[in-house]
């Protein structure tokens, strides 16, 4: 390619897996710490909370994964990936050891409305494994440079069972921290679980966050999203203050291949972050 040509958006940049960590008891959710092999690539990869990137596995394909690390972290980018037995890419990724090389393309998509949320209360609602970009957001807001920009931060996070909660060490840290209120729940506890039990939508009703001067970010499987929207609307949150992240099968990540097209939007380009108001305007149901 000539130096005058624009960057080829299809080419992945090489990265090395610096560290892997298993997040859940079942062992199929892992966090990967990735380091760019080339300095220029690292410098160009400036992202915001809520964006995703394509993890590129030689021989298997590519997968769009939300970025889990904070934009302020230096030197590495983190992704938490669930292995699907039918997924060629996630299976291949999970079998790799530290030191292996893969490819990374991105960052893609839009981001959570961090600027609009300044000066407001932020409620974060997450379900199961869909907590990755929310973690990025929490880390970003709690950073000493940013904490004062936001008012109260409340996190409601639930998983099917205690073993399925991810980022356990961070959850424990945040529970002890001032400046953030943590409400952790599980659908069903075990013998050692001393915390709350209940589905996330029910817990949202119990916690009853106030909609005044507040934004709520909700991420979870389609069924959880569907049932969480109702209590949030009943509590008085307006649809343009309820923010979520959609998922669709993606191939190019740049709004060309058509996979993720919903209405006149591309989830990879106009999303994945949408307000509930925008979702109501989409022709197809998204749940």
């Amino acid at each position: 390619m000539n130096s005058g040509d624009p960057v080829n958006p299809y080419l992945p940049r090489p990265v090395t897996i610096k560290k892997t960590a298993i997040e859940n008891e079942a062992g199929d959710i892992k966090t990967f710490d990735l380091v760019f092999c080339n300095r220029e690539d690292e410098e160009k990869f400036k992202f915001q909370c809520g964006q995703f990137a394509m993890l590129s596995m030689p021989g298997a394909g590519e997968s769009p994964i939300g970025i889990a690390s904070s934009p302020l972290d230096e030197g590495l980018v983190q992704f938490t990936v669930k292995r699907y037995p039918t997924g060629a890419v996630t299976s291949a990724l999970h079998s790799l050891e530290e030191g292996s090389r893969i490819g990374l393309r991105g960052p893609f998509g839009n981001s959570y409305p961090m600027k609009e949320m300044e000066g407001k209360n932020v409620i974060i609602v997450g379900g199961g494994f869909a907590f990755t970009t929310l973690r990025s957001t929490i880390l970003y807001m709690l950073h000493k440079k940013n904490r004062s920009k936001y008012n109260d931060i409340t996190v409601i996070y639930g998983a099917r069972s205690p073993g399925e909660l991810i980022y356990k060490s961070e959850l424990a840290k945040w529970e002890k921290q001032s400046g953030i209120e943590m409400v952790i729940t599980v659908d069903r506890g075990d013998e050692t679980w001393k915390g709350r039990e209940g589905f996330v939508p029910t817990v949202v009703k119990d916690v009853s966050p106030s909609p005044e001067d507040a934004f709520v970010l909700v991420c979870g499987p389609p069924i959880m999203l569907k049932f969480t929207m109702l209590p949030l609307l009943e509590l008085g949150f307006s649809p343009d203050r309820i923010i979520t992240s959609l998922e669709r099968r993606m191939s190019c990540g740049i709004g060309k291949c058509g996979r993720c097209n919903v209405g006149n939007k591309y989830v990879c380009k106009d999303g994945p972050v949408f307000s509930f108001k925008q979702i109501q305007e989409l022709p197809e149901g998204i749940f």
Binding site: G61, T86, G87, A88, S91
Partner: protein
């Protein structure tokens, strides 16, 4: 004497009786298409709509491809919540064999299908008409009871032809044998003789290996991997086609010759003992690939090795599912 109108009238009457008598929920037949040389599938669920049904030599689709849809439940539906849909279906001889094949492979149940067997005397290949008329398009198609076609071109000329010269190759090589087990027989005599069965395959077999390979390569290179052949084929009902699997990926999606060849070889070999030569794949292909030669070769091999014709009886076991003393040994290779 072969009156299209008479046959169509009988089809309509059968459909009306079946629907009003609540023997079926739906009749699948043919209706007039949007172009002069097209008839197309039609789904009738009311007595009034039965008036749309037609019969002519343009009724080329094999309608049995739709039958498994009425057995499948949609997503989020529990098995108990699905009431079986009873379907009446207009079928030519080859189509009836398709239906029997689907019953045999447990894709549909016989009691939920009412087979309206129509006496077929062959259907027309549009491409042959286009070649004959040298690019002059047809505005109107009429066929009289002596099987003479009266075609009016866009320029206003009226031309007559005997249907014979435009019959599809599949019809010129028709198997002719039909299953006995049908529910309604529309009056009329189906075609009794077509002399050319397997002639083209034999000619092809007689060519040298190099010639055969070159011909296969040339034809298959035209493929754009649109999957029309597979979607039109009633036998291709797999929920997850081998060509679409990713883990492991058996065949790529592109038009690398090796990918395309593997796709077609796989699909055609999956038809062994099952293909009824309904020509659905050939007629669906937008690139005009000569698929018939290859599928018919498969049919001939099975007929010669096992004495088996697909779709004549639902009870007869498929040749690749069992063995018998009389089975030919020619297909076994020894190292």
């Amino acid at each position: 004497m072969y009156s299209m109108e008479k046959i169509a009238a009988e089809i309509k009457e059968s459909a009306r009786d079946l629907i009003s008598g609540k023997r079926v929920d739906l009749v699948i037949g043919y209706e007039k298409g949007s172009l002069a040389l097209r008839s197309r599938p039609c789904f009738v669920s009311s007595v009034e709509d039965a008036g749309k049904l037609v019969w002519n030599s343009l009724c080329t689709n094999n309608l049995s491809v739709y039958l498994p849809r009425y057995v499948q439940k949609g997503p989020q539906k529990r098995k108990e919540d699905v009431k079986p849909v009873r379907v009446g279906i207009v079928a030519k001889g080859c189509d009836v064999r398709s239906i029997v094949g689907l019953v045999k492979e447990k894709q549909i149940s016989r009691e939920n299908v009412v087979i309206i067997r129509v006496p077929c005397r062959g259907v027309i290949d549009r491409a042959k008409v286009e070649t004959q008329l040298k690019g002059n398009e047809v505005n109107e198609y009429k066929e009289d009871s002596s099987e003479i076609l009266h075609l009016t071109t866009v320029a206003g000329e009226e031309k007559t032809f005997s249907k014979e010269q435009f019959l599809a190759d599949a019809c010129l090589e028709c198997e002719l044998a039909e299953p006995e087990d049908v529910d309604i027989r529309i009056s009329g005599t189906a075609k009794q003789t077509f002399p050319n069965r397997y002639e083209r395959v034999r000619e092809f077999e007689a060519k040298s290996r190099e010639e055969r390979w070159q011909h296969f390569k040339k034809e298959i290179s035209k493929c754009i991997r649109c999957n029309a052949c597979r979607q039109a084929c009633p036998n291709c009902f797999c929920k997850s086609c081998f060509a679409e699997q990713g883990k492991p990926r058996w065949v790529g999606a592109g038009t690398d010759l090796s990918n395309t060849m593997f796709y077609h070889i796989g699909r055609i070999f999956h038809q062994a003992g099952r293909c009824v030569e309904c020509d659905a794949c050939v007629r669906a292909c937008p690139m005009g690939i000569d698929l018939r030669l290859f599928t018919q070769k498969m049919v001939k091999d099975v007929a010669e090795a096992f004495g088996y014709i697909a779709g004549l009886s639902a009870e007869e076991k498929p040749p690749l599912c069992e063995f018998g003393d009389a089975d030919g040994q020619g297909l076994i290779t020894t190292l």
